[in-house]
Structure formats: structure tokens, C-alpha cells
Subunit: 263 residues, 2 copies
């Protein structure tokens, strides 16, 4: 695989579109915003949009398409959400039914696509601020946990917040708070730090998604609202059709990370 | 009228609910967030929510109700949007048909209420920062203008941005930029400053809404996205039913201005 660290968002999307790129995208097109994708039918789109509006930390919207429109006109003009993600997941009534590289026959004229900010944006900023990110250094997936923090429900969509965890020193945690405050549309500041039991997490060594990471002496676990939340919530609503990216196989936009500062 | 400057949001709403308060709310419950109200039927709610999401500067959402639910649970638990605004405007197919003090017979089980941040929040912050606000000093309405800045359309909702204008010195304008950056959910930073013709405004002395104000030697006009935009756009879509507050007769929330800092 060519080194795609310095590729543009359009490069990555073109490679995904022609079938050359079917793998995960972390580390690619550094500095460009990568996004979570959730696609639902029009009849559920109001409730899902309302869910995102009510829960901006786990569900930071960066673009929403018109029904049937496959082009995210704000963040990637000319792109096509039907082809430009390396790999998709298709759910029917909450069951995984396909993992295609393009949506082809699954696409319908009533589908609405939601692009949501992703943690890569603030992780890049943490690293630039000299704060190491454990799972990146370890070359594994970030650990993610279901919590007892309830999201604000909207129609069919309801459920607990899923969080990601990064261990760091208390001093680094304060600095991380400052860095992440710049990125409200990439999950923003941490939602919690400290005793995992207080937010309903029993065992940090047993994440619900992703991989466990080492917590060293003098470090505290710091938790961020996670983009898995809207997917988990959307799947539990068991809609007739729901499409997302395969985890780690993101939609890469034309935005730069700095474009997500403020609103 | 009792001095309501130091009233709470709940005080103001109770007075509106019992019919004791039917006038405008500027200067009341200082420090509490006042909000614009737009109510549309469920079938238009996705498009209107999407319009707000795509145009956060003119349409900063602070709460959206479930269809048929008249309680803004996030910003004013226990309140009722059917009674707690001093005076409403009811539009049928874009025509003003009623100006009631309570929605009574107009309410339907498919109505969705949108509360949008308002300029009073950042004006309070400007005054606290020592930046005089001309129309407040003059005791008149802020001047508002239609521009040639197109909003990003969503379904039936499309149209130009309406802006409000406050004259100040260039140094005060820089300070205002800094102050208003704290309030992305109250229209945020100015959208423009300088030659009005560049944004399609012919004559500052002839505002499209509100009152003209004096611009003194050495001052520049500074323009903010205005909460009249979503109402103007919603009315131009001529929905069968649309309800808003009467201008200046706002819904007063339980939020403090500082709650609108960040997201």
C-alpha cells in the first residue's frame, strides 16, 4: 500500500471509489477530517437528526444530506457516500446483512446520510500538543465502553452513551480538556475522568468495543463521548434499513481538522 | 408594571401564562437566556431542523421538542410553549391570521417547537465588556436587513440571511468578535463588517425590520446573523400552519447566558 499519510481527502475517496482501498483509514490523509457515516430512511431522519441535536458530544454533526442525495455538499463537494467509503455495514432490522465496498443495490431515493465528527481530529491535536495517545502508540484500537450515562432520547432513538478511554496523567488531562475544547464538532471535551464504576463501567480491561490498553501508575482514565453511540442507538431502534461505515473505515472529507474548531 | 429586571425565567413565564404579561420582554430576567420560537407541523420538521443545522449562525438551536410535546424539557422543564410566551403570531400559508396570548385552539398534536438563541445574550455580554450597544442606548429596536448572503437551503426552506447591525469603532468590533465567539448558540461572531453594499444592503437608514440607528464618525457597521432569518424563511415556505412569538415577545428559559458558552 502506498503511504497515504499525506494524501488528500479526495485521493482517499477516489481510491475507495475504484475499489483500490478497502481497508481502514486511520493515519491516512493526516490533518483531514475523517467522519462516521450513518444512513437511515427519510421516515426516521427527523428522529435521528433530533437525537444528534440533543446529544452533540457523542453525535457531532458535520454534514447531513437531503433525502436521496448521495453528495455531502458541505464537507466533500463531488463526493458520493454510496462509493467513497472503503467498506460499509448494512443492517436490516438491527441484523448485519452485508459488508459491501459500495452501496449499489442497497441505495434508495429516501435515504438520508449523516456525517459525524470523529476522535481522530482531537487525537491529532493531542499529539501535536505533546500528549501521547496510548492506543495509537500501542498500534491497537481505542477501548470503548457502554456507560450508565443516558443519552437524551428522540423518538425511536434512545440508549446509553458509549465512551472511549485514553489514560494520561492528571496534568495531561487538564491540557487535554483545553485542547479538546477547540473541537466541539469532534466530540469536544472529556465527559468524565476517574473511577470507572461511577459511570457504570465494571472493568477497564474488558472494553465493550476495541482493545484494552495499559494504565500506568499515576495515570487516570479519561473518557470521551464516542461516535459508536449513535450507531449503537440507531441499531437498537432496529430500523428496516440502516447503513454505516465498517468501524475504522471512515469517510474522509475535504475539511481540515482546524475547520472543526468552533462552529 | 413591576420591575422584572431581576425576575427569573419561571417568573416571566408564569406571568405570561396567567395573562398578566402580554408585552415585550427585553430587559426582563437579565442574565437569563431569551429564545425565539418557531413551531411547524411534523411533516416539515425534518426540513426545518436540517435548515437550522446547516445555518447555525442565524439558527442556533437551544431546544427542540418531540412532536406534540409542549414542554421544552432541556431549557425550561415544566414550561409550556402554548402559554408561556407573552404574545404569539399564527401564520396560515404565510399569512398572519392571529396574534393570541395563548395558543389554545391552534395547538395540534403534530406540532414541533424550535427554540433558537437570541441576540440579547451577546448584547448583555457586550455591555458587560464595556461595548455600548447603540439601539439599547437609544431605546429602540435593532435595525435588521435582508442581505444577498444565501442560507444553505433544506427542503422547502431557502432564502437570504437577515442580519442585525450595531455600529461601533473598529477597536470595539475586534473586542466584540472576541466576546461573541463565546456564544456560538446566540448567533456567535459577526458575519460581516464594512461596506453594506457588499452584502446587498442599499441604505442603512432604511432597515427591512426594526429601527435605523445613528452611525457616528469613526464607526463601522458590524453585522450579525439574525434570528429573524428562520422566521422569514419559514414563512416564505408558506406552510399550512406556522407559529412564532411576536417580535420582542420572547420565550424566557431557565438557562443563564453563561450556559450558552460553547456547546
Amino acid at each position: 500500500m502506498t503511504d497515504l499519510r499525506h494524501a488528500t481527502g479526495a485521493d482517499i475517496r477516489r481510491r475507495a471509489r475504484c475499489g483500490e482501498l478497502t481497508g481502514p483509514t486511520p493515519g491516512m490523509a493526516l490533518g483531514h477530517v475523517q467522519a462516521n457515516l450513518v444512513v437511515v430512511p427519510r421516515e426516521l431522519a427527523f428522529d435521528f437528526l433530533l437525537f444528534c441535536q440533543r446529544n452533540p458530544k457523542p453525535c457531532p454533526l458535520i454534514d447531513v444530506t437531503d433525502p436521496g442525495d448521495s453528495e455531502p455538499r458541505l464537507v466533500a463537494p463531488g463526493a458520493d457516500v454510496r462509493t467513497d467509503v472503503p467498506r460499509y455495514r448494512v443492517y436490516s432490522h438491527g441484523e448485519l446483512v452485508d459488508e459491501p465496498c459500495a452501496l449499489g443495490e442497497w441505495w434508495r431515493d429516501d435515504l438520508v446520510s449523516f456525517l459525524l465528527g470523529c476522535s481522530f481530529t482531537f487525537e491529532n491535536a493531542l499529539v501535536e500538543a505533546g500528549i501521547p495517545v496510548r492506543h495509537v502508540e500501542a498500534g491497537c484500537n481505542v477501548p470503548m465502553y457502554r456507560t450508565n450515562i443516558a443519552c437524551r432520547p428522540a423518538g425511536a432513538f434512545r440508549g446509553p452513551m458509549v465512551v472511549s478511554m485514553r489514560p494520561m496523567t492528571p496534568a495531561q488531562a487538564l491540557e487535554a480538556e483545553r485542547v479538546c475544547a477547540r473541537f466541539p464538532r469532534a466530540h469536544g471535551t472529556p465527559v468524565y475522568s476517574g473511577d470507572p464504576a461511577a459511570i457504570g463501567i465494571r472493568d477497564l480491561d474488558q472494553p465493550d468495543f476495541g482493545d484494552a490498553v495499559e494504565i500506568r501508575t499515576g495515570e487516570v482514565p479519561v473518557f470521551w463521548a464516542c461516535g459508536v453511540t449513535p450507531q449503537a442507538v440507531a441499531m437498537e431502534a432496529r430500523p428496516p434499513l440502516l447503513i454505516s461505515h465498517k468501524p475504522g473505515h471512515m469517510f474522509v472529507t475535504d475539511l481540515r481538522d482546524s475547520d472543526l474548531e468552533g462552529i
